[in-house]
């Protein structure tokens, strides 16, 4: 029996799988609207938001909205090796023959997650494909637009289209967790706030830490998290030191 089953959940309520839980987004609606608009009006934009605040989730929503005709490309630049070749990515739409014929698509939407740098070659390609209309819109995400290694000409195209993510405060943190666990007695709001603070205001860490303390409670066959369970987090911190 899994820990979450013991606590009365069917699944891990603190999963941070971006694909699974976009319904649990908090304070993202205006941002989603903005991104959808920017994509459909054809632009390059950068979503700047801290780790674990739902950038990937936003991209997933965008992908869903515009997907369907194999027109959307999602690239997680974090896990890609340096060999990324935008040309090939775009041509994949047409399979092998497309590559041989050097066929290029039209009006693609490219979502580039966690971009910290772009090789010169890929920058040139992106610029060119964007300018020529092969790519309709490009959405970059990252934790900092300033420190992203983008060329000046790319920045010129992004212009003021930098969308900053929401600042999650402890109220939102409570809302995020409540959306996931409902009225469960697992935590009270105060505990959630506390965990949030201990997580350095990162939603990603908040979820991870909630899972840890819940596991600890489940281990001890309790249905409520107690301060005693916070030891797990402390020992974690010590490990890191």
């Amino acid at each position: 029996m899994d820990w979450f089953e013991k606590l009365g959940f069917e699944d891990n309520p603190f999963s941070s799988d971006a694909k699974a839980n976009h319904t649990a987004l908090v304070k993202m609606d205006p941002m989603i609207e903005e991104i959808i608009y920017r994509i459909s009006s054809g632009s390059m934009l950068f979503i700047e938001s801290g780790e674990g605040t739902g950038k990937t989730t936003l991209l997933m929503i965008a992908a869903k909205k515009f997907g369907g005709s194999r027109n959307v490309v999602y690239l997680d630049c974090d896990i890609l090796d340096k060999k990324l070749n935008i040309t090939h990515v775009l041509q994949d739409k047409y399979g092998m023959m497309g590559r041989i014929l050097n066929k290029k698509p039209k009006d693609m939407i490219v979502l580039m997650d966690n971009v910290t740098e772009l090789s010169k070659l890929n920058t040139e390609r992106l610029k060119y494909y964007f300018d020529q209309g092969y790519i309709k819109s490009i959405v970059f995400t990252g934790t900092s637009y300033r420190s992203a290694k983008f060329s000046e000409s790319l920045r010129d195209r992004i212009g003021n289209r930098v969308i900053k993510g929401p600042k999650i405060n402890s109220d939102d943190a409570v809302e995020i967790i409540r959306k996931r666990i409902g009225d469960s007695e697992l935590f009270n709001d105060k505990l959630i706030s506390k965990i949030f603070k201990m997580s350095g205001s990162s939603v990603k860490l908040l979820l991870e830490n909630c899972e840890k303390v819940s596991r600890s409670a489940a281990k001890k066959n309790r249905k409520r998290v107690q301060l005693a369970d916070f030891k797990v987090l402390m020992s974690d911190k010590n490990d890191m030191v």
């Binding site: 609606d29 608009y37 009006s41 050097n102 066929k103 070659l121 300018d131 209309g133 195209r157 930098v162």
Partner: protein, 370 residues
């Protein structure tokens, strides 16, 4: 329904893509094409956003499908190897038979890193007749290390792309949206003054301001809309503010500080404004503070930005008078002569397709090296 749908446009009329507005290139591309056909080499220099890519694109489209154009950017990771480039453009049959294309047109982008040695190679290929013409593109001709002999070929064909002037900017918008009375001349002039003579910035501002106005059911852009979008927050739009605001937090965490609330709410807004206006107006100046600093921008800071805006406005006016235009303005006429007619047609197709009625657009493959 987006604002441009409300105005009766299919797509964003202020798109920053050259493809979307190349029918209104402010440069006499026909003149360049004639030079290329006359086997002359050209050097195009100009700042970011002044239309270099637009010119390149227009030239490429003019020769497309003839397997004549080779494109290379010195920004790319692959080393510049002219033999490979020329070979790459040859068809399989030509490769097998060893026949070589002649009279190719080489487009060299971002040439500011090109060495004199590489320039010499290019010149050799040109003199041997393998290259009919070479188009060099760079930010500045002066700052480049160009092979002396090559300079002799280029010196009379250096074309400088200059920033838009006010009238051209207004003409640009007119060409995009026709005669609808969304923007008055006066408002457009104002927006132009705020956009650092950068057409991309200008179009972006126009888009944001038009959107702001139309979303408020105004069919005419007023000064207050410009203020709202550019002065207070260029990213515009009232809604996005919401995800920056954090009024709820105050109640729980800092009950005592309720008075501070409005201040906090506005702070990030101003921050963004400051940062973005700076990006737009004093592009080169890095501004670490703007990002690193915790929000709460002071009124002084805002004023400073406005001042900068004014300064750059004055500068640009001066520039205008000083800078002689080496290039004549000539509008391309839409129609059979327009090298872009083909693209526009296919774009129209693409739009229909979105509605689920049209056919899949067809694209010609042209020799474009990546």
């Amino acid at each position: 329904m987006t604002w441009y749908n409300k105005l009766g446009f299919h797509s964003n009329p202020f798109s920053i893509k050259p493809a979307a507005y190349s029918s209104m290139v402010a440069y006499d591309v026909d003149y360049l094409i004639k030079k290329i056909k006359d086997s002359e080499m050209i050097f195009i220099e100009g700042e970011y956003g002044t239309g270099k890519t637009t010119i390149l694109k227009t030239i490429i489209n003019n020769f497309r499908g003839k397997n004549k154009i080779i494109y290379y950017s010195f920004n790319s990771e692959s080393k510049f190897d002219i033999e490979k480039l020329v070979d790459g453009a040859n068809s399989v049959i030509r490769k097998v038979t060893g026949l070589k294309h002649r009279n190719m047109i080489l487009m060299l982008d971002e040439t500011h890193t090109m060495t004199a040695e590489e320039g010499k190679e290019v010149l050799r290929y040109y003199q041997e007749g393998i290259l009919q013409s070479v188009v060099f593109v760079s930010n500045s001709y002066q700052e480049m290390d160009i092979y002396d002999e090559l300079k002799n070929y280029l010196k009379n064909n250096v074309i400088k792309t200059v920033a838009l002037n006010q009238d051209e900017a207004i003409e640009l918008i007119r060409s995009r949206i026709g005669d609808i009375s969304l923007f008055s001349k006066k408002v457009l002039k104002r927006i132009f003054d705020l956009s650092d003579k950068n057409p991309r910035r200008f179009l972006e501002y126009c888009e944001d301001i038009a959107r702001y106005a139309v979303e408020r059911d105004e069919m005419k852009v007023l000064d207050e809309h410009v203020d709202a979008v550019l002065k207070i927050k260029p990213e515009a739009k009232v809604e996005p503010k919401k995800f920056i605001e954090e009024p709820k937090a105050k109640k729980v965490e800092e009950k005592v500080n309720i008075e501070e609330k409005p201040k906090k709410v506005e702070a990030p807004k101003k921050e963004i404004q400051k940062e973005q206006v700076k990006v737009a107006i004093v592009k080169e100046k890095p501004h670490k503070e703007a990002i690193k600093q915790e929000p709460i921008a002071t009124v002084e800071e805002i004023k400073e930005v406005e001042l900068e805006a004014k300064e750059s406005k004055e500068e640009s006016d001066d520039d205008d008078k000083k800078r002689p235009k080496k290039f004549k303005i000539n509008k391309l006429v839409e129609g059979s002569k327009d090298p872009l007619g083909e693209i526009q047609a296919s774009e129209a197709h693409a739009e229909k397709k979105e509605d689920g009625k049209g056919d899949t657009p067809e694209y010609k493959v042209f020799a474009f090296d990546n």
